[in-house]
Every structure is written in structure tokens, then in C-alpha cells.
């Protein structure tokens, strides 16, 4: 699909009526339909529910019948004096996840692509994919059984080697590293599929031509594959940035649990809000925090998209 055919088809559209156009692309539209319905049902329909963040929610009066209280539901986050630390933790973790996650995924995708043995390629891909399907609860238990002080695997090994025991569950400083490793272990296989698909989408003829011109494997990667991946990287990055203030609750809650000793380095907005509101079951406060995160996410996406557009309009989302 080159640009020429694109522009000629837009001209065709202008000449014909809207209905005819709709009919003409009926197959494509049908393919879009599930996504459109999905977003309408699960993202647009509940949107008026944002209102719950501004009321004192009462079950019987419902969302719109409850008393309006303005920004009071946001008060508790501000009053905690932790808003900055929590947002900082959340964002720093997400930056680490996004940057390292994508770099590793790209690396794995390229390596997979270069592999000659089909059998080995399939097997290793499947193996890397598997952790993605393990529930976070199980991951939490796995990590605990590996690392706990009294009978954890790591400490068993250390003692049998005559070394001193290691107690990560009472040492906040090591957790950023552990959490990032666990996250990468779980997500890399899945993320690399997207990049692998994009590499497969690069025109084989270009690669053929490069080979004929005498490019070695590294040159091929540097000058053909990486530039070919650029749009995918940018788009995935943009998506990821939208969620930069949304922490991975499952990962943090299941691994750290409620070990307050580790909060200074591991407390993110989600875990804090969970702890603070689990006691009084407050829909409104939880929604207020959700809204706070969504607004920051929205601003981030718009800003980054704007910057990308300035640099190279082809890569921007909209």
C-alpha cells in the first residue's frame, strides 16, 4: 500500500456518496465493529460515572442522586503528604519498565529473527511467552519462596555454600531491582511478539538487496531492521506513556503485600489507595484517584504526541 493508491482512493470517495462508500468498505467496517462496540461499551458508556468522584456516594440515591461535594474526595490524597512520593515511585518504576522492557523486547525479537533453526526458535519463543500466563498471585508466592529468609531457595543455596543469609524482605533498597527483573521476566516474551511481527513485516526484498550489496548481519540490523521498527517503537511508547501514572497493582501487591518496611521504595499510588480505602469501602475516593491518574495520563499522551508530531509527523498517533 503506497501513498499513491491512498490518495487516489480518497478522491474516489469524494466523488461518490457516503452510503455508497460505507457499502464499499463494508468488510473493513465489519472488522472494525467489535473494537468499536468494545470501546463504546466499556470506555464511553461508563464515562459519566466519573461523576462519582465528586459526590458522597450513597447506594440508594445512586451516582447522580448523591450529594455533590466538589473536590473533597481528592482531599485525602493531598492531605497524606505522600502524593509526591507516590507519584514519583509510580512514574520511576514505569519508566524503568517501559525503557528496559522495550529494549529487551526489541533485542529478543531481533535475536529470534536471526535464529536459523526453526525448531529452536519456536521452542524458545514459547518458553519466553509462558511467564506471561502465570497469575500475579502465583508470581508473588514464587518470589517469596525464592527469597524468604528462613527457608527460601536462595538462602538455602547461600547457607550450603557457607555464605551468610540474605534478607531482602527487610531491606527496602533491593526491591526496585527485584521488581524490575520480575516484571521483565514476565512481560518480555509477550512484548517481543509485537516487535517480531513488525520485523517480519519488513519487505524481504530490501533485506535481500542489502545482502547482495554485502551487508553483514550487524549492518542489516543497524540500517534496515531498526529503522523499520521505528514506527512500532514510537507507537508502543506513546501507548505506554499514557499509563505512566498507572502502577501495576497486581505485581506490587502480590510481591510486597503489606510489608510496611518496604514501602519507602515500593509504595505506588494503587497500593496506597488500596490500603487506605479498603477499610471504609469508599467508591468516591477510589474514583477520584482513578480520575487523577487518567488526567495525568491524558496530558502525557497529548504532550508526547505533540512533540513527536513536531519532530516527524508520520510517527505521531493523530
Amino acid at each position: 500500500m503506497s501513498k499513491n493508491t491512498n490518495s487516489s482512493s480518497t478522491q474516489v470517495i469524494r466523488k461518490r456518496g457516503v452510503l455508497e462508500t460505507l457499502w464499499r468498505y463494508r468488510v473493513l467496517e465489519l472488522m472494525c465493529l467489535p473494537a468499536v462496540v468494545f470501546f463504546f461499551l466499556f470506555s464511553y458508556m461508563p464515562m459519566p460515572g466519573i461523576w462519582v468522584a465528586f459526590v458522597k456516594y450513597n447506594y440508594r440515591d445512586g451516582i447522580f442522586g448523591s450529594k455533590f461535594v466538589g473536590l473533597k474526595n481528592f482531599q485525602f490524597l493531598a492531605e497524606s503528604g505522600k502524593l509526591f512520593e507516590l507519584t514519583k515511585n509510580t512514574i520511576l518504576y514505569n519508566i524503568a519498565f517501559i525503557i528496559l522492557g522495550n529494549l529487551l523486547a526489541i533485542l529478543v525479537a531481533i535475536l529470534l529473527n536471526e535464529m536459523q533453526s526453526k525448531m529452536f526458535k519456536k521452542v524458545s519463543q514459547t518458553m519466553m511467552f509462558l511467564p506471561y500466563f502465570i497469575s500475579q498471585v502465583l508470581v508473588g508466592i514464587l518470589v517469596y519462596n525464592l527469597l524468604n529468609y528462613d527457608y527460601g531457595f536462595v538462602n538455602e543455596v547461600l547457607t550450603s555454600l557457607g555464605r551468610e543469609k540474605w534478607g531482602p524482605y527487610s531491606d527496602p533498597s533491593v526491591w526496585p531491582v527485584i521488581l524490575v527483573i520480575v516484571h521483565l521476566w514476565q512481560q518480555t516474551g509477550y512484548n517481543s511478539v509485537v516487535y517480531f511481527a513488525a520485523i517480519c513485516g519488513i519487505d524481504a526484498e530490501i533485506i535481500e538487496a542489502a545482502k547482495v550489496d554485502g551487508a553483514n548481519a550487524f549492518q542489516k540490523i543497524r540500517y534496515i531492521i531498526l529503522p523499520g521498527l521505528k514506527p512500532t517503537i514510537v507507537i508502543l511508547l506513546l501507548f505506554a506513556l499514557g499509563g505512566i501514572v498507572k502502577g501495576n497493582f497486581g505485581l506490587f501487591y502480590n510481591i510486597i503485600g503489606t510489608n510496611s518496611l518496604l514501602y519507602p521504595t515500593t509504595d505506588i499510588i494503587e497500593t496506597y489507595v488500596y490500603r487506605a480505602t479498603i477499610n471504609d469501602f469508599n467508591f468516591s475516593t477510589a474514583s477520584a484517584v482513578g480520575l487523577y491518574q487518567s488526567i495525568i495520563g491524558f496530558v502525557m499522551v497529548m504532550a508526547v504526541n505533540y512533540i513527536v508530531k513536531k519532530i516527524d509527523p508520520d510517527y505521531s498517533l493523530f
Binding site: F38, G49, F76, S80, Y169, A197, T258, S260, L261, A276
Partner: protein
């Protein structure tokens, strides 16, 4: 072809990615029909008001339509079929008397409070009767949120006449919020839910404590002895959730503090036995006591009372382990101890004839003991119930009718229990709790007039302790106080978090630095979060109510 496939995969994965973002922003869907239900129940109430007569004659009530009443309780659903068999028999009686049948809706213990509250918030008529509690199941917040139906005196007189009569006016007074009755209390059932440590009395004696454990210091001696003498036994395989009860217990044992239920899970505000209506928080004032607590818990941690990673320990099953002798103590309430001290099937510690289980209750040193609030267990009617009248009629029967009561509480006679010669109940020979036992967790209207004593319980020990309790107890003084915390909720939320964060480290001796420093840091954080404002506001509301 292959490329197309990959392209689809790529786009599919992206859609998934976005979907993940989308669903997390989605707000909880609005219970759209709440207003409708509300008006519906309102009109029903008014019609019943008009139709109710002072005679309260059940036969005059229109029960022509057969209805199903769902009763919600906490606890997992039973595995065997015996509960269903019992319900079948019970429903025959209920159908005959009030043309209704009963179903049980179980809220599993995993995250029970969230699931419980969410089920109530659905307001779609899923449940009719709701087991609730003011101190551990959010009864008042739910009443305030509109989850429970106001029970008018006429309604109670007409549809639950026996319950209405059996509960005294003073007790009904304690079930009111804003002038309306919301709860039907379990106020005729002797039980004690004050916390403490159940421990091996025989081991304590070996350790040189001739009278058993009588103080926290004795506990230290006991744990030390157990650790040295029985290396295979973990003195107390605690999990990280016990911090609040421990520090609460320490304060009860070292002062005359009487806490107010239902403000936060730490019960951090209250008065003293001598001055009940001056609100204070011992967590701010009793600094020396807290420092001493921090030091002792550090000592316990060093002795090895619990596992090193106790704060991440979620897999312990301490109570079951106590029954088979793998641990030496269990921190819970008296009711649990009455079970542990009895020689029941599968309690292998009693294979040793010397074995005995003692109980050290918090407050023993200072004789500081508060009796249970009558709304520790209570029944409410869901505001979304389609048949609130019939729900009340069913409740009246399972609470007051001997046949219904026995069926519902003990199961079918001959299968789940049988009577001994002296009128107590015991399990029949060849009884298997999985297939023959029932479980409806009815803790919201037990009735001592109808109770049959369990012959397997160690009544000698239990009654001895109960007598000791009765001699020193005071009644829960704040039953009528339902704080309005709307304006201070955000402060309380933050105080909760500070309490949890610091107390976990203090109560398990996991803090860095000195005990004085950590307590000072904790109190500083509490002050910053506005604990003094909360105390002042509670005092203001106290003065309104009690002065």
C-alpha cells in the same frame, strides 16, 4: 498470507493493550435501578404501615405468594450436601408457616469485607437478610450508605413479634441511627470476643509459671522456654496482620483504656474506665508504654517467636497447627479459646494427658475488660429486598422457633448431632464433618434460651473463666455513639495508613534504630496527619450525645 496473519496479530495485541488501559479507567457501573427500588420499598412500607394492626397476628398477613428469602453470611460455602438436606427440612416448616423458603448466600473469607460490601452495594435484590456487625462488618457505614432498610416499630411488631418482644427497649435504642432501627441484635447469647493468647498451660508450668501466663512478661518467659526446649515448635507462627490486636492488647493490659468501636480498624480512640467521656488516643499520649512495647517485641523477634519474614508470611495456619502441637500459642479471642481448650476430634495435642490450654486475656493485669457490644452480631434487611416483610417473618422463626432454631444451628438430629443423656449435644458415632456437618454461620441472632450445650466443650474451664470475666467486666459504654466521620474521613484514612505502616514494624520488632526513635517518628506522623483534629471532632460529637 503469513504477513496478513502477523498484521492481524499485531493489531490484536494493540487492541488488547488499549483495552487494558480502557477497562482500568472504567468506573464502577451505576446501579441504575436504585431509585426505582427505593420508591418501591417506600411504597411497600407505607402500605404495610396502613395495613398493620396492633394485634400483630401472623395469620392475617397476606402470604399467598411463595417467596425465596436469601440470607447473606460471611464464611465459605460448605462442601457436603448436609446443609442442603437441612435447608430442605427447614424450608418445609417455613413454607408451611410463612410460605417462604430460605437460601444461604456465602461470602468467602478471602477479602470478605470487600466482597460483602460490594454485594450490598449491588442493590439488586440478591439478598434479603444480611448478617452484619457494628465492629467488624461495617454495619453503620452500610446503614449510612443506604444499604439497609429502616425497620419501623410497626413492621417489627407485625412481622417479627417475638424478636420485638425479646429485645429490650434499651437494646433497640442501641440499634438506631438517626432515630431509625436498622439492626436486630444478638443480645441474648453469652460469648466473649476479647482477645488474648491461648497457650499450653502445661508448658508454662514447666517453664516455672505455676499459675500460667498472667502478664506480657510471663509470655516472654514462656516463649523463651518453648523455643529452647522444643526446637521443632514455632512459638507462634504469626502472620503480618496481627499488629493492631497486639498493640491494642498491650494498651488494654497497661491502662484503663476503653476503645470506641467502628472508627478505624486500630480502634485508636476512646476514654478510660474512670473517665469514659473524655476522648483521647493512647497512641499519642502513652509514649513510655509504647516504647516498652516496641522493646519487648524486638526481644520476641530476637527470640524467634515468629518467622523472620513474618510480614510477608501469608501462608501460616496457626490455629490448626496449635491443635496438632506445631505451635505453642494462638492470638485470638476467648470464643476461639473455648474451642481450643476442649478435647475434640483431631486435636492431637491432647493425646498427651498432661496437655492443657490456658488463656491469657488482654487486660488481665489491670482488670480492664469490656463486655461485647450487642451489635457484634446482628441481622439487617437489605434495602433492595423485594420481600422485606417475609424476610422478617423468616428471621423471627429461625431466631425464636425451637424447631427452626435447632435445624438451622445444629442440623438434622441424628445426622449432624445427637442428644446425650444430660441434654447436651454431641456428634453421632461415625460422624464425618465433611459430609454430615452443616455450615450456615448464623452469628446474628443466636439465642441462649434455645441453645443446646456442646458436650465436647471443656465447660469446667470455660465457666471458670466466664465467672472471672463477669466479676470484672464493664458493659460496652459507647453503644449509642455512631460517629459522623464525613468531615474527618480523609484524616482517618491517612491515620490508618500510618498506624499500619509503623505498627507492623513495631509490633514485630522489625524497626531499624532505637525503640524511642521509632515511636517518636510514629507519633510525629500521626500528629501531622491530624490525629488531634480527629480527637477534637469526636469529643465534640461525644459532648452532643452525652452531655
Amino acid at each position: 498470507m503469513k504477513k496478513k496473519l502477523l498484521a492481524t496479530l499485531l493489531s490484536a495485541s494493540m487492541v488488547l493493550g488499549i483495552a487494558a488501559c480502557g477497562s482500568s479507567t472504567a468506573e464502577t457501573p451505576a446501579p441504575a435501578d436504585t431509585t426505582a427500588t427505593q420508591t418501591e420499598t417506600k411504597t411497600e412500607t407505607t402500605t404495610t404501615d396502613a395495613g398493620s394492626t396492633e394485634t400483630a397476628d401472623a395469620s392475617a398477613i397476606d402470604t399467598s405468594e411463595h417467596v425465596v428469602i436469601t440470607y447473606m453470611t460471611t464464611g465459605g460455602a460448605p462442601e457436603g450436601n448436609q446443609t442442603d438436606a437441612m435447608l430442605e427440612q427447614l424450608n418445609k416448616i417455613l413454607t408451611e408457616k410463612v410460605n417462604a423458603e430460605l437460601e444461604v448466600y456465602y461470602i468467602d473469607w478471602t477479602d470478605y469485607l470487600s466482597v460483602y460490601n460490594l454485594t450490598l452495594a449491588r442493590m439488586d435484590g440478591t439478598v434479603d437478610l444480611v448478617g452484619t456487625a457494628s465492629d467488624w462488618l461495617d454495619a453503620w457505614p452500610n446503614a449510612k450508605n443506604g444499604a439497609f432498610l429502616e425497620l419501623s416499630e410497626d413492621m417489627l411488631k407485625t412481622y417479627a413479634p417475638k424478636t420485638w418482644e425479646s429485645v429490650s427497649p434499651e437494646h433497640w435504642e442501641l440499634c438506631k441511627y438517626d432515630g431509625n432501627i436498622y439492626l436486630m441484635p444478638e443480645d441474648n447469647y453469652a460469648q466473649w470476643t476479647n482477645h488474648g493468647f491461648a497457650y499450653r498451660l502445661d508448658w508454662a508450668k514447666e517453664a516455672g509459671l505455676a499459675d500460667g501466663v498472667k502478664s506480657w512478661e510471663d509470655l516472654t518467659t514462656y516463649f523463651k522456654y518453648v523455643k529452647e526446649t522444643y526446637p521443632d515448635v514455632i512459638p507462634w507462627d504469626s502472620d503480618g496482620t496481627q499488629y493492631a490486636t497486639m498493640v491494642g492488647g498491650w494498651i488494654t493490659s497497661h491502662s484503663n483504656y476503653v476503645s470506641i468501636d467502628g472508627i478505624n480498624s486500630g480502634a485508636m480512640w476512646g476514654g478510660t474506665k474512670d473517665d469514659l467521656y473524655t476522648v483521647y488516643s493512647p497512641y499519642v499520649t502513652d509514649t513510655d508504654s509504647l516504647v516498652e512495647f516496641a522493646k519487648m517485641m524486638k526481644e520476641w523477634d530476637e527470640i524467634g517467636v515468629w518467622k523472620t519474614d513474618v510480614l510477608n508470611n501469608t501462608t501460616s495456619d496457626n490455629r490448626e497447627d496449635f491443635k496438632i502441637g506445631r505451635v505453642a500459642a494462638e492470638q485470638h479471642h476467648t470464643q476461639t479459646w473455648t474451642d481450643l481448650c476442649s478435647h475434640k476430634d483431631g486435636y492431637t495435642i491432647y493425646d498427651d494427658p498432661k496437655a492443657e490450654t490456658g488463656f491469657f486475656y488482654f487486660g488481665e493485669e489491670t482488670k480492664n475488660l469490656v463486655a461485647l457490644s450487642i451489635t457484634h452480631g446482628a441481622m439487617a434487611v437489605s434495602a433492595a429486598s423485594k420481600n422485606p416483610e417475609r424476610a422478617l417473618m423468616v428471621y423471627d422463626l429461625i431466631r425464636n422457633d425451637p424447631d427452626c432454631y435447632k435445624l438451622f444451628n445444629y442440623g438434622v438430629e441424628g445426622v449432624s448431632y445427637e442428644l446425650t443423656a444430660d441434654g447436651m449435644r454431641k456428634t453421632p458415632d461415625g460422624y464425618n464433618s465433611a459430609t454430615d456437618g452443616i455450615s450456615v454461620n448464623y452469628w446474628w441472632g443466636r439465642n441462649d434460651d434455645l441453645e443446646i450445650k456442646d458436650a465436647t466443650m471443656n465447660w469446667d474451664a470455660i465457666e471458670k473463666l466466664y465467672k472471672e470475666y463477669d466479676a470484672i467486666k464493664i458493659d460496652y459504654p459507647y453503644g449509642q455513639f455512631v460517629p459522623n466521620v464525613d468531615d474527618i474521613q480523609s484524616k482517618i484514612d491517612n491515620i490508618n495508613d500510618i498506624h499500619t505502616t509503623y505498627m507492623k514494624q513495631i509490633a514485630f520488632g522489625k524497626y531499624q534504630g532505637s525503640a524511642e526513635d521509632i515511636v517518636a517518628e510514629y507519633q510525629e506522623a500521626l500528629k501531622k496527619a491530624g490525629i488531634d483534629d480527629v480527637t477534637a471532632e469526636l469529643q465534640r460529637q461525644f459532648d452532643e450525645l452525652y452531655k
